[in-house]
């Protein structure tokens, strides 16, 4: 099958290349047959890459270790779901994913716009084809990036998936992120086409707006999943560490958000065109940079996949995209200038401009902090790095301003708000904000954390303003057409999905930031070392380390040491069971013995967590295994003596028998170790966190994504035509007059 896959990959490269050349030729000569042919070539690439994906995934499903990719990242003991998702745990696999999503998305947009954009679409096709050539080319020509590389002879067992990745959130996180990155290439390609052809009107935006929104949705989901995974699986107990790879996904999200807002201004008023093309170029460049950061190990990070062969080519692509696009934009500046100016500071346009500045400012701060190790090395010769506190210092005030403006924007009108109206519109939100501030200061210790207090206030302002918008809109509809409040709300949403969907996104973001502020500023975190029977008090929880337990999963070759914590608060009691999983060592020190290797590789934490509306109780455990070291060493020595020396011709039948006995003995040793752990408890270090309001982080994120889906949902064509006709009829009267 690998031969078929490789052939299809090579054919896909040719298809992309042909598409780029044919589209370019068709654009230059105006011969639409070449354009049609190039579009079909993109469809062909999508088909070919689908075959490639099916071939690789079926190899994973079959545990076909003749595929190097499967041998390196899967094993017979990996559960089926993770066998399939292991595809994107590797460099070659993620490149294949990138190319595949690109081909499908490009096919979708080119099919949807085949009757439109006569001048722009060919160039967009050329750009997308070029990107396709790059990614398929990387797979074929970079070392170690070929998904179809074969191993001869095929090993009998694979290395298995990195245990940190055996988590449902981690299973879907990469494809979500990558889909987000890839989908931004669509508006980028069309922007380039628009720049080249000087067709810088609203129509390129109209066709690609949904793709940008879809990209934003996928990125948001990907980022939230990453945060959720970090919170659930990593032992430090946070959801965001300002890690380089986390930042790499946040930066394009920020500029992408700015882009989505800014194009609204261009669609309506023809302004901010330079901003828009710059934002989409910047966003796409950041998406490529994000892909590069994950794959190159150039910055220390928990994600560091190590030095890779695709780092340099990706960086060159980013540079080419930036330089080429900038040159193009500068050469088209005259076409981009708008005749219109922002009329008043008290208008939506002005707020959107401020919004652009804040989001880009945030992205720049994060970019600086993320790349600082490289910058400082270049400037001073030594590598220095910045940690979470520096990031927080700068992003916190900017985020507060951002939430403030997400509240102000919806309250204003386009062009200008009437003077008297301002007071009426802002009265309630301001009033509620002041009340909230007063209550918080009076009844909580929020005054001790001024930044958090400020965030709570602006979020309250935003949420009140949004509620007011919905209330007034529904009231207006009810006054016109009657019916219940709820049905009026429904009609409101249906009538203007974009606006009210957008408001829901804002509400989700405000909720999310309330959670961030609360859980960052008011968190209680304690590290304690307990023996069974010990009790500790954290906040108003009384926590007792009741008993240790151990478990073995032979399917996954996993040893689990767990602890049961009995928790009591306000007379109510419950239990938490944090645990630590150790995996049979194929990822650790090759010179360690068979038992030792369990404890040398990546261990994973299962967090013990009680989620509540007002706070989470979160614990992770780590047993101190040092007292066991001499025992483990002794057992390993005995085990290794049983292992036969295998000659170059492979194992003899007696040797095979010996190896089976060895495996049994290893299994027995592990079982005895587990029993030992339970019978002779060791000290365990627990990290116990009380995280206020964290659940609202996930809720806020979901609300934001739901709002975006509503905004993206197309209105039924019939309704659109009806609305159009109504206006046409109304204007026709005036037309007749004029």
């Amino acid at each position: 099958m690998a031969g078929l896959g490789l052939a299809c990959l090579i054919a896909a490269l040719c298809a992309f290349g042909y598409a780029a050349v044919a589209a370019f030729h068709g654009a230059r000569t105006g011969d639409r047959r070449w354009v049609d042919s190039s579009r079909r070539s993109i469809y062909a690439a999508a088909g070919l890459l689908s075959v490639c994906v099916v071939v690789v995934e079926s190899a994973f499903a079959r545990s076909d270790f003749s595929f190097e990719l499967v041998a390196l990242h899967s094993s017979t003991t990996t559960p089926t779901l993770y066998k399939l998702t292991a595809l994107w745990g590797s460099q070659a696999g993620s490149l294949l994913l990138w190319a595949f999503v690109l081909s499908v998305a490009a096919s979708a947009v080119l099919f949807a716009t085949r009757h439109r954009h006569r001048e722009v679409a060919p160039y967009a096709t050329a750009v997308l084809g070029g990107l396709g050539v790059f990614f398929t080319g990387l797979m074929l020509f970079a070392d170690g990036a070929n998904p179809f590389a074969q191993l001869d002879p095929a090993p009998a067992e694979g290395n298995g998936l990195n245990p940190l990745l055996r988590h449902p959130a981690m299973a879907i996180h990469p494809p979500m992120l990558y889909s987000g990155y890839v989908l931004f290439s669509i508006p980028f390609a069309f922007a380039i086409g628009a720049l080249i052809t000087r067709r810088l009107d609203a129509s390129w935006i109209r066709s690609t707006r949904r793709f940008a929104l879809l990209a934003w949705i996928f990125l948001s989901i990907g980022i939230m999943l990453g945060a959720r995974w970090s919170y659930s699986e990593l032992g430090w107990g946070g959801y965001w560490g300002w890690d380089a790879v986390e930042n790499a996904s946040l930066m394009p999200w920020l500029t992408g958000t700015a882009f989505l807002h800014s194009i609204m201004v261009q669609e309506r008023r023809g302004m901010l065109k330079v901003w828009n093309v710059s934002l989409i170029v910047g966003t796409f460049a950041l998406c490529l940079l994000g892909t590069f950061l994950v794959r190159s190990g150039i910055l220390e990070s928990i994600h560091a996949f190590g030095e890779s062969t695709v780092g340099t080519p990706l960086l060159i692509l980013v540079a080419a995209v930036l330089i080429g696009s900038t040159a193009l934009i500068v050469s088209r500046l005259d076409d981009l200038r708008s005749a219109r100016r922002i009329e008043s500071l008290a208008s939506r346009e002005a707020v959107f401009l401020v919004n652009n500045l804040l989001l880009v400012g945030l992205a720049l701060v994060i970019w600086w902090g993320t790349f600082f190790p490289l910058i400082s090395e270049a400037l001073t010769g030594t590598r220095s790095s910045l940690a979470a506190p520096w990031f927080a210092d700068y992003t916190t005030p900017l985020a507060i301003l951002l939430v403030l403006f997400t509240g102000i924007g919806p309250l204003l009108a386009w062009r200008k708000i009437s003077a008297g109206a301002a007071l009426r519109i802002f009265a309630w939100p301001l009033g509620v904000t002041v009340a909230v501030a007063a209550l918080l200061v009076a009844f909580t210790d929020a005054a001790g954390e001024p930044w958090a207090l400020a965030m709570f206030c602006v979020a309250a302002f935003a949420l009140t303003g949004l509620a007011q918008e919905f209330a007034r809109g529904a009231a207006g509809l009810r006054a016109l057409n009657g019916g219940s409040y709820v049905s009026a709300l429904g009609r409101l949403m249906g009538r203007n999905r974009r606006r009210y969907g957008g408001y829901i996104v804002h509400a989700g973001i405000a909720i999310l930031f309330i959670a961030v502020a609360a859980s960052s500023s008011f968190q209680t975190s304690r590290d304690v070392r307990l023996m069974p029977g010990d009790t500790v008090e954290v906040e108003d929880y009384t926590i007792t380390y009741a008993e240790p337990s151990a478990d073995i999963d032979p399917e996954e070759q996993k040893l689990t040491f767990a602890a049961r914590l009995d928790v009591e608060r306000d007379g109510k009691s419950f239990s938490l069971s944090p645990s630590r999983n150790y995996y049979s060592g194929n990822t650790g020190d090759p010179s360690a013995g068979p038992i030792r290797s369990f404890f040398e590789g990546e261990a994973t934490s299962e967090v013990g967590r009680r989620e509540g509306a007002s706070e989470d109780l979160w614990t992770a455990m780590q047993p101190d295994l040092e007292p066991l070291d001499p025992l483990i060493a002794a057992v390993d020595r005995r085990l290794l003596r049983r292992l036969p020396e295998i000659g170059p011709e492979g194992p003899t039948p007696e040797q095979i028998e010996q190896m089976r006995e060895f495996a049994n003995a290893q299994g027995d040793a592990i079982e005895r170790l587990a029993a030992l752990y339970v019978a002779n408890p060791l000290p365990v270090t627990f990290r116990i966190n009380v995280n206020p309001f964290v659940i609202w982080l996930w809720v806020g994120g979901l609300v934001a994504v739901a709002g975006a889906l509503i905004a993206a949902w197309p209105a039924p064509a019939a309704r659109r035509r009806r609305v159009s006709d109504v206006y046409a009829a109304r204007l026709a009267k005036e037309l007749g007059r004029a």
Binding site: G306, G369, S376, I656
Partner: protein
């Protein structure tokens, strides 16, 4: 004031604010950052007061735990005789043990590196499965060795 002038003023204000913020950013980043240093560089006294990222190897036998706290000694990768005592509180990565390569971040106080919470990274000896596989001493245990 005519609109063009208003716009000019807005632009100047915006640019000035941007320049000021950028300067603040650059200045504080160099101050707040942790330079990468080896234990010998730190001990030689040629360093100032800030936080440092110290990379080196854990001196065998030096790890002592006291409740949730831990002390150990970190030695130069190239010159194991140079030892720097470290005080650390926080999550200890699983691969952490004698002889491992670590990066610990903290401040130098009276000849001891007082580490910041959770700022301890331990490098796995063979991080990449591929390298492990190529190692001739690496044994792959397989239960299905019955000739199939």
């Amino acid at each position: 004031m005519n609109p063009a002038r208003k716009r000019q003023i807005r632009l100047v204000v915006a640019l000035t604010a941007a320049v000021l913020l950028a300067t603040a950013l650059v200045y504080t980043s160099f101050n707040a950052s942790s330079e990468a240093k080896s234990p010998s560089e730190l001990l030689s006294g040629a360093v100032g007061d800030g936080t440092y990222e110290v990379y080196g190897k854990v001196v065998p036998g030096s790890i002592k735990r006291n409740g949730a706290d831990m002390t150990f000694e970190i030695a130069d990768r190239e010159n194991p005789s140079v030892k720097l005592p470290v005080e650390y509180t926080g999550q200890v990565p699983d691969p952490f043990r004698d002889g491992r390569e670590v990066i610990v971040t903290g401040r130098l106080v009276d000849g001891t590196l007082v580490a910041e919470k959770d700022r301890l990274i331990t490098k796995c000896p063979s991080k990449f499965a591929a390298e492990a596989e190529e190692d001739p001493e690496h044994v792959i245990i397989d239960e299905s060795l019955d000739g199939s």
